[in-house]
């Protein structure tokens, strides 16, 4: 006898749709806003942020060398490269959250690219023309 699967119940399907609706229409956008990035909250050009990246590499003797972060664009994926290119000056961007949230990884990457003993990467941000915040990450590079 071939097995016959019973169709899902109306109540079950309706419950599933309510859960999916609550997730995509409320939980994801609201959670994203509460978390701070607003990435999943359909912000759509609602504000413009400006950012600048300072990149300082230290050699083995402890001397500091100010480097242009654009040099990191060469080995980065197209989307990250477009963020880093020209970021030694103030640049406008819809959201800088993706770079700020991964500053540690950027510092690790800078270590490899610059062959430095240690690096300090700082992202400066301003909104509406006013200086807002700076986030820094220091990494001691492993040889």
């Amino acid at each position: 006898m071939p097995s016959v699967t019973s169709p899902p119940s109306v109540a079950g399907v309706r419950r599933l749709r309510i859960i999916v609706g609550a997730l995509v229409c409320v939980v994801l956008p609201l959670g994203s806003r509460v978390q701070g990035s607003g990435m999943l909250a359909w912000t759509m050009y609602s504000r413009i942020e400006e950012f600048r990246v300072d990149l300082v590499a230290f050699d083995g003797a402890g001397r500091a060398h100010l480097r242009n972060p654009s040099v990191l664009a060469d080995g980065a994926s197209a989307d990250i490269a477009s963020l880093l290119a020209g970021s030694d000056h103030w640049r406008e961007v819809v959201s800088i959250g993706s770079l700020r949230d991964h500053l540690g990884e950027l510092a690790d990457y800078a270590c490899r690219e610059l062959h430095a003993a240690s690096v300090v990467v700082t992202v400066h941000e301003r909104r509406g023309g006013y200086y807002d915040q700076a986030t820094a990450c220091e990494r001691r590079c492993t040889p």
Binding site: R14, W42, S77, D79, H102
Partner: protein, 302 residues
């Protein structure tokens, strides 16, 4: 029983799936559109260049490539209507998993396209215009899910613009100054500071109003036209990737035709499965009443 509403949702599935395929595969590469450059061999294909995931650890390149292939197969199945529920949900999750591998690649267009696959899959859009139609279960809640999803997008977008930078017109002024927003409409509206402020408030008012107006049956038709016009203006002035196309396709779910028009204000929508076994009320043919009225007014023969 096939309803007009679910047929429309089937059409939305076919068009939306086609859009996602066009955006995630190199089909349109010969057009040399800037934002379609990264679709070869497939969108999100692993690269040796440095990148960071949005969440969690980086996945192995082989796994990401497998996800890219599986996503494409799932979108094709979804578009054709083969196990549309499963393939829609799977393709949405796979697409998000691939996108999450490069934090810089996130754009709202992808979020819309990938969430849209999941929403349409769960909505029962595979019940019609499908190679293997799935069982139609409670079409009313399926259509409602798609509609609420679209309405919520406008609401969140309008809500996000309730900030001083936007409301004073500064954001639009900068976007216009940087030629991100351009074209004859932008020239007419955004050339002056007051113009930018008026345009900014107009956008907020439009986005906040569209959701409720689309959900209210009496204003739905007009709101649909307004929303399509809104996306046309954005498309001409901003070229927001595939976002406008995706939203325009999803707006088809608001169209009321035939039986669906009757259902717009009727609690017995769909007619396929009613949770408590109620039957739709019988409708009297209007022609009969009309013909009686005509007979009464017709002049007597001489």
């Amino acid at each position: 029983m096939m309803t007009a509403r679910i047929r429309l949702l089937g059409l939305v599935r076919v068009l939306f799936g086609t859009l996602v395929l066009l955006r995630t595969t190199p089909v349109l590469a010969p057009l040399h559109v800037t934002y379609l450059r990264a679709t070869s061999p497939l969108l999100g294909w692993p690269t040796p260049m440095w990148h960071v995931p949005i969440w969690g650890p980086s996945l192995p390149a082989g796994l990401v490539a497998t996800f890219c292939l599986a996503r494409t197969v799932a979108i094709v199945l979804f578009t054709l209507g083969v196990r549309a529920r499963e393939s829609g949900v799977a393709s949405g999750f796979l697409a998000w998993a691939v996108m999450s591998q490069d934090a810089g690649s996130y754009i709202n267009t992808f979020h819309l396209l990938f969430l849209g696959l999941i929403v349409l899959g769960v909505s029962g859009a595979g019940s019609s215009l499908a190679l293997r139609p799935e069982l139609e279960i409670d079409p009313r809640s399926g259509v409602a899910l798609t509609r609420v999803f679209v309405a919520s997008l406008y609401a969140w977008s309008g809500f996000a613009k309730l900030n001083s930078s936007w409301s004073h017109g500064e954001v639009l002024q900068r976007l216009y100054g940087d030629a991100v927003v351009h074209g004859p409409i932008a020239d007419a509206l955004l050339a002056t500071t007051p113009g930018c402020a008026v345009a900014a408030w107009s956008v907020v008012a439009t986005e906040l109003a569209l959701g409720p107006l689309l959900l209210w049956p009496r204003t739905r038709g007009l709101a649909c036209i307004a929303a399509l016009a809104f996306h046309a203006v954005l498309e001409l002035s901003l070229h927001p990737d595939f976002f406008g196309f995706g939203m325009s396709v999803l707006l088809l779910a608001f169209i009321e035709i035939g039986e669906a028009r009757h259902c717009a204000v009727d609690m017995y929508c769909g007619g396929a499965v009613d949770p408590v076994g109620r039957q739709p009320p019988e409708r009297q043919p209007p022609e009969q009443k009309w013909s009686v009225a005509c007979q009464e007014q017709s002049p007597a023969p001489h």
